[in-house]
């Protein structure tokens, strides 16, 4: 049963009498005073996450030179950007690396500078070297440009991330006998450590696992500024089932496509990263507000780290070989304690996602809402829920006659 609408919440936000709490604060509120009373009081719950998100990038328009050039090969600080759009439009992906990067030729490679770092430098207002090679046409005669640009010089710079805010993620371990260098960090052999990458009870999509409130047009905190959910993310295959303990939840597979104007974002919340032996990427800050439309929505926002579970996956064999076997589920409370038990062995844990920064994001979003400057937007369409039954298709290697 609905207890409040978006319009009612926004009216209260404008008046300054709405009640907004973070996804961490709501856990203890519900524990102390129950669902019904908390649902009566709370209008919005804010979430947050600050973690490496590889499927990120910016599209930008760098303006026309005289004479004009049609960008065929484009680099920003020597990092290649896409040359397959209109003359002076391009897309720079977070994981792109310079053509002369040694990559993994001496394993593990360092990947010290890539697309994520360029985005960080752009948003920090630093000059970035733009190099454009054209092949020369009657309308775009110029063949080459090298110049320096800053964020202000560019016409539009839009952060457009096809897959962010993964609802849940593997806890990565190494069952093999030698060190692994992965996007989940350095994994020591024989269960030497376990790395996870979700903000648990603060994580946006773990707090709305049935996508009751998040959809196309949802206004969010993105990279320190305002952004929007514009579609479901790629590989959005959400599912929810009960975890090992009664009332607990194992939700996984939901993702977001997000977009926002880079010019109002901050280098504090978009940080270039280098994963040893893996590559470059971008650490993205995202916070999603969840309107408490009814008790059911509140119930999921109030799940604690002890009630949220993640699967343990071996990155020596199971993950790279795409085997579906896992080593069981562990709760975020166990992960955050610093040690989990796998196959009877105590394994130290560490996170690739910053919980303290996620908490900061949820807090900033809460302040924005309470300040009346950030209103909720009702989605034009909700994202597919687990009931839609979306499942991932594997890629099979075959010839044209086998299709």
């Amino acid at each position: 049963m609905s207890i409040r609408t978006y319009a009612e919440i926004n009216a209260r936000l404008r008046k300054g009498n709405a009640v907004v709490v973070t996804a961490e604060e709501v856990v203890s509120m519900v524990r102390e005073q129950g669902l019904t009373e908390t649902a009566r009081q709370v209008d919005v719950v804010t979430t947050g996450t600050f973690a490496p998100m590889c499927s990120s990038g910016v599209y930008l328009n760098f303006g026309h030179s005289a004479p004009r050039v049609k960008g065929h090969r484009i680099t920003l600080n020597d990092v290649p950007a896409y040359g397959g759009l209109a003359a002076v439009d391009t897309y720079l992906g977070a994981t792109a690396v310079p053509e002369d990067d040694p990559l993994n030729s001496t394993h593990p490679g360092e990947f010290r500078y890539g697309g994520g770092h360029v985005i960080h430098d752009l948003v920090a207002g630093k000059p970035v070297k733009l190099r454009v090679i054209g092949y020369g046409t009657d309308c775009y005669p110029r063949r080459e440009i090298e110049t320096y640009v800053t964020l202000d010089d560019l016409n539009e710079v839009v952060l457009f991330n096809p897959r962010n805010a993964y609802q849940n993620y593997n806890v990565a371990v190494n069952l093999g006998d030698s060190t692994l260098y992965t996007y989940m960090g350095v994994l020591k052999p024989r269960l030497g450590n376990a790395h996870y990458s979700t903000s648990g009870q603060l994580s946006p999509l773990l707090k709305d696992p049935y996508f009751r409130t998040i959809g196309i047009g949802t206004r969010i905190f993105l990279g320190g500024g305002i952004g929007y959910v514009v579609w479901n993310g790629t590989q959005h295959f959400p599912s929810v089932r009960e975890g090992p303990v009664k009332g607990s939840v194992f939700a996984a597979g939901g993702t977001l496509t997000v977009l926002g104007d880079l010019k109002q974002m901050s280098p504090q919340w978009l940080v270039g990263a280098s994963f040893l032996g893996y590559g470059a990427t971008l650490v993205v800050g995202i916070g999603v507000p969840i309107p408490i439309l009814d008790e059911e929505v509140l119930r999921y926002t109030a799940l604690s780290d002890a009630e949220l579970y993640a699967p343990v996956m071996d990155y020596n064999k199971a993950y790279p070989q795409r085997l579906s076997e896992t080593l069981g589920l562990v709760s975020y409370a166990e992960l955050k304690s610093g040690t989990i038990k796998i196959n009877g062995q105590n394994v130290p844990t560490a996170s690739m996602s910053s919980y303290s920064k996620a908490r900061e994001i949820a807090g900033i979003l809460k302040e924005w809402l309470l300040g009346g400057e950030f209103l909720l937007s009702e989605p034009a369409q909700l994202l597919p829920s687990p009931h839609a039954g979306l499942v991932g298709k594997p890629l099979e290697i075959k010839g044209p006659k086998e299709c």
Partner: protein
């Protein structure tokens, strides 16, 4: 006396000699080996903490045997502005110098426990850990 961190560089011809044994037996020094890379017939290095009344005599002994002794001047510093408190370094750090403070879940760095192995400088995705000479 508080332990001093020193770097020992062994020439190839003494790398198979039990010199540390004499530091303990003859000079009554307390040794704590933090890092060692010693192989027979090759130059070797060792980083250790040493303490005891006969510290200076012990060092003089090592030098008389051809060992180059220098105070540990390399140190690891954390760029506090860059660190995002993820935790990628914490399970990698062998000495517990990098750890998560709970329940705040912020990453702390205790330079006193650091053995300058430099693993964190490459494991940190943000490159917030730096070597200072």
């Amino acid at each position: 006396m508080t332990p001093k961190k020193v770097v020992l560089r062994f020439p190839a011809e003494v790398s198979d000699k039990p010199l540390i044994y004499y530091l303990v037996k003859d000079y009554n020094l307390m040794v704590n080996i933090l890092k060692a890379n010693i192989n027979p017939h090759k130059q070797g290095t060792m980083i250790m903490e040493l303490s005891g009344d006969k510290f200076d005599a012990g060092i003089a002994f090592l030098e008389s045997r051809g060992v180059n002794v220098q105070p540990l001047s390399e140190e690891i510093v954390r760029n506090e502005d860059r660190c995002i408190s993820c935790g990628a370094c914490t399970a990698i750090c062998p000495s517990g110098a990098l750890f998560v403070e709970r329940p705040a879940m912020t990453v702390r760095f205790d330079g006193g426990k650091c053995v300058v192995c430099q693993l964190c400088t490459r494991a940190c995705p943000i490159r917030a850990m730096e070597v200072k000479f």
